[in-house]
Assembly symmetry: C2
Homo-oligomer: 354 residues x 2
């Protein structure tokens, strides 16, 4: 049975696979010399290297990145802790990370908590795998979590999250500046009664976007925004729209703390009828996910600079690995307003063509 024998190859069973120790023995060198022979840039005498390569070839030895990771402490793996991917922003983040790491010959290990599993339980597991760094995104961050991070054996970066006073690096869009820009844009457009749809309470993204939004309105002499809860979900946005429409005087502009809620708000307004977008009420989101550009929604939003955020995250991981100063840094990157049909054009603004 050729099929069976093919599937039960020595490689498969693993029993006969040559190890670095086998090669070391055959070449009469140390295991460390075998590792150096297979690691680009490592110092090793040419004669020794040639002997190792000859022995490796004779034994059919392939260097194993795990084994090398144990020796060099560079496993080539970066852990990403992601609590949920139902917001389409995060799959894009994950894909972009995976591609950027792949270009460096590295790979993502994905850690997703089970139901009721605290995120901090996953961190020691990630460390145990010898990952070179950990990126934490889309998560409720507890103080236990921050303490585990601050004492981590490898660099940790919070992505799209910040925790005030925490001893951990963070890379974020400047959410407060984004909220303020949106407020100014609404004010310029003559909006006078704005509402804010909050994400999860306790999420730094929602908090800072709201803070900047309220500050921008206050600077223009407008009152604090009306407020509804949307929990960062589409259905939450639907419910928030219903709530805001039920007010005696509904808002003339709604800023939802992320796009997926803003899409729910648009659908909620459409289902309720009565108020037209953008004639009666403007709607603005935050993120610029793909669906925001779909004709049904045509949502004005604040685009996060995902590529730059990921490049900065990788830079921090690299710096920390290379032994450069490792005091935690917080990087805030500017995003930009993308105008579409869910708002009218403010004076002087340039619309994105569909």
């Amino acid at each position: 049975m050729p099929k069976e024998s093919k599937r039960r190859s020595p490689l498969r069973s693993g029993q006969n696979r040559a190890t670095a120790a086998d090669v070391a023995r055959a070449a009469g060198v140390s295991v460390s010399a075998v590792s150096r022979a297979f690691t680009p840039g490592k110092s090793i005498a040419q004669g020794t290297k040639a002997r190792v390569l000859r022995a490796a070839d004779a034994l059919g030895y392939q260097p194993n990145p795990l084994a090398r990771g144990l020796i060099t402490r560079r496993s080539g793996m970066v852990a990403i802790l992601m609590a949920e991917v139902s917001n389409p922003f995060y799959p894009t983040v994950l894909e972009t990370f995976a591609r950027a790491l792949s270009a460096q010959g590295k790979h993502v290990m994905l850690f997703t908590p089970g139901e009721d599993e605290p995120l901090e339980a996953l961190l020691p597991r990630a460390f145990g795998y010898g990952v070179e760094g950990v990126v934490i995104t889309s998560a409720k961050l507890t103080s236990e979590m921050m303490s585990v991070c601050a004492n981590a054996p490898v660099p940790v970066v919070l992505f799209n999250r910040t925790v005030e006073g925490a001893d951990v690096s963070a890379v974020c869009c400047d959410n407060e500046a984004g909220g303020r820009s949106i407020a100014r844009f609404l004010v310029q457009g003559g909006r006078r009664r704005a509402a804010f749809v909050a994400g999860l309470e306790g999420a730094s993204t929602s908090l800072y976007r709201e803070r900047g939004f309220a500050a921008g309105l206050a600077e223009a002499g407008l009152p604090a925004p009306l407020r509804a809860q949307g929990g960062f979900t589409f259905d939450g946005g639907l419910r928030a729209a219903t709530e805001l429409l039920a007010l005696k005087t509904p808002p003339d502009a709604i800023f939802a703390a992320n796009d997926i809620m803003a899409l729910g708000v648009l659908d909620g307004l459409r289902r309720a009828g009565g108020l037209r977008v953008p004639e009666d009420v403007w709607v603005v989101g935050f993120d610029d996910i793909a669906a925001s550009a779909w004709p049904s929604f045509d949502l004005t939003t604040f685009r996060q600079p995902i590529n730059r955020m990921i490049a900065e995250t990788l830079r921090i991981l690299d710096l920390a690995e290379s032994g450069a100063p490792s005091s935690p840094s917080t990087v805030l990157l500017p995003g930009r307003l993308i105008e579409r049909g869910s708002t009218e054009s403010a004076v002087g603004a340039v619309r994105e063509p569909f």
Copy 2:
């Protein structure tokens, strides 16, 4: 500077971390005995185990899953090769896999090809990491790829893909039966001029869905469906709608090979005006992604049984690992039609309440 000293802990530098070899030396046993002491269910004399645990405790040794993986050949990692995540179906698949594996104490290593990087180049990298299995999804599968898979040192499962005649296991929704169900549903509803919007040419999912759809129409005495290309993207669906509307006699029903294209078709019809959904034309998708249930779309679709598909995939990986017969198997699972507002109710059908 307490902060600096905390970040430069012995754990961080890795120099002073106790290894299994240290513990073995201290306990006067072999490294293999240390491994057995820390592996649940492994046979080891109680006295030896106690000696190992005492030595480990004294040295602050934590078993390292990588090192254990090298000894036991069970790294606890499963590779997922995913070429794109822009179709929202795949992030859901990835999240569900990650959670299911996490419940078994295992983790996902994500492999995403760079631009122009052939997927088959990633497989040897995954094998090199000692992954216990490989799941391939969302990919153009070449014959080179299939040959690498058939000779893989660990079990490989194609997810949501099949390749005829390939020596590799596959788990799929029964796409052909799904296409046929949709044809019957349209015929029952009095539709007489159906169109099919194809995904990527060469993708087995699109191919089988089309085959079943055409067969179902033929069984009812109807002609082969009109046809447009949508490339599995929203924009492709938009363009396909425009194309089909430009026909002298446009279709009275459109089945798009995945939901994201069907949403594009709906938006294309809406933008063009003229034809109303569902009065003049019915639209049906395939997958049941979250956005299909949004009020703006309210799309009738064929739901893939993601949870069962993933459970079957893990079962195949487990069986192969446990040494059970490993001839490749193809598992086809039934999906089901979810009726919503983009079609009218066929006789006797039960609608999902919004």
